[in-house]
């Protein structure tokens, strides 16, 4: 029965792929390839913009400004993602249902936690930011919350899955030593899920830095804000300096993440 439902799923998936491919093909036909692709003078703009790649602005004054913007973006991302871990972990534990034995209490807790997580992450951080700006005005707190809420929904969902997917035998052995489900969580599930949880949190932190850069319009003098200013002044050399700094931050996080994970799994 299981096999037949799976093969039905496969059939459905094939059909879906076909429909999506057809939609893509049709959408390509609807593009006006002759006129509208580049605006008048578009080519010269493109040359100026991408020429900036090779001549980033490196004057000390601008570099100081850019580094400060990077720092602001980074602290914003760190605060937001830390808050998201703080909200996401308890919600993820509740959504995993590992603290309860079978029954209505478990079913309802899992359902409630999963709903809250789905609600948090189905609204994009830009939309949250919009709402908070309208409600509270431009403030760093609005931006941090806008980042933390959807990220806690995403992290919590994944944490819950990771905590459920650990090998069962060590947990059984812990229970046989008299461990309650909570102690089993602390001594078995979390340590065993930790490499996955850390790795995913680091990845989310990278995403957080990108989002923080964009969200800086909400009231933080971050990278996105500076990029916007430089774009408005048509200073593409400056834009590229700022973008390279963003890349540098992401690469640094990636290196940090792999060092931490290597220490953890060694």
């Amino acid at each position: 029965m299981r096999a037949s439902s799976r093969s039905k799923f496969r059939e459905g998936r094939g059909l879906l792929t076909l429909i999506l491919a057809a939609a893509l093909g049709l959408s390509l036909l609807s593009v006006d390839w002759t006129g509208g692709l580049l605006h008048s003078g578009g080519v010269s703009y493109a040359v100026r913009i991408f020429g900036g790649m090779f001549t980033p602005e490196l004057s000390p004054k601008f570099l100081a400004l850019a580094l400060e913007a990077t720092w602001n973006t980074l602290t914003f991302a760190v605060t937001g993602v830390t808050l998201a871990v703080g909200i996401g972990l308890p919600l993820g534990i509740a959504a995993s249902g590992v603290l309860f034995s079978e029954g209505w209490l478990r079913t309802s807790t899992v359902a409630a936690a999963r709903f809250v997580l789905a609600f948090l992450r189905s609204i994009h951080e830009l939309v949250w930011a919009w709402l908070f700006v309208v409600a509270f005005g431009l403030s760093p707190m609005a931006a941090i919350l806008a980042l933390a809420l959807p990220y806690s929904g995403i992290l919590g969902r994944l944490y819950g899955d990771f905590l459920n997917d650990v090998p069962q035998n060590p947990l059984r052995a812990l229970r046989a030593s008299g461990a309650s489900e909570f102690k089993t969580l602390a001594y078995g599930r979390i340590p065993m899920a930790m490499p996955d949880m850390l790795s995913y949190t680091f990845y989310r932190f990278e995403c957080g830095v990108r989002s923080a850069a964009i969200l800086s319009f909400v009231g933080i003098q971050g990278l996105g804000y500076q990029i916007q200013l430089s774009m408005d002044d048509l200073l593409y050399d400056q834009v590229w300096t700022l973008m390279y700094l963003l890349v540098a931050v992401i690469v640094a996080i990636d290196v940090w993440s792999s060092v931490v994970r290597r220490n953890l799994t060694r």
């Binding site: 052995a173 030593s177 078995g188 930790m194 490499p195």
Partner: protein, 261 residues
Amino acid sequence: MAASNEQQRAIRLDQVSKSYPGRMALYATSFEINVGEAVAIVGPSGSGKTTLLHLMGGVIQPDSGDIFLNDHRLSEMKPGRELSSLVGVIHQQYDLVPHLSVMHNVLAGRLGQWGILQSLMSLVSPKNQTLAVGALEQVGLVDRIRERTSRLSGGEQQRVAIARLLVQDPEVIIADEPVASLDPARATDLIDLLAKIARESNKTFVASIHSTDLAHQYFNRVIGLRNGEKQFDLPVAFVSPELLGGLYELEGLERESVVQE
């Protein structure tokens, strides 16, 4: 139950049955084990050894029948403190948490006794360290105490599991094929260690094993299982390779390969 012996009963099974979807794992099995006895459970794969041991360890619940530990009904005992001080189980795989240090895996034997706060604090600064050191000394691994458990070999991890059991300090030690994953020499060492621990502190010891040699060397009594039913329950002196072989032969297995080490 006016048993004739004056000795104290450690374990009593009364018509215990357990089935899994589509198959009977253990059928109306009854026997008693006295405090301090060393009992070997033998039988081919699928004969119900693991089920029987897990039932005695409180890892799974019977469908019908009663299990008594120290004359208390197992089903009425709370898991945690009470059960963990009565019975401890060594599993087929060593089943440690590979990501934790050896120290934490050993001290996990105290989780039944510790409160929640104590348990959490101990992850940061381990409590009862002397207990862990003492247990690891007995299994000869005290120099590995700070290492990640995953860095230890299979045989070493099996010893860490024994150290955890020592820290748990239950009255009954149950070992489910403790030697299945080890080579014969190490297997003998391990049974030797478990039997010695049990003997020295007058603990009851129940283990599933495959060889008559091991049975004669370390156990007083042998219970034979086949297809979830008890075939014999005899003092070890009456257990011959032929008897044990018969148990396996009925399953169509090669007697030579299974019985002899």
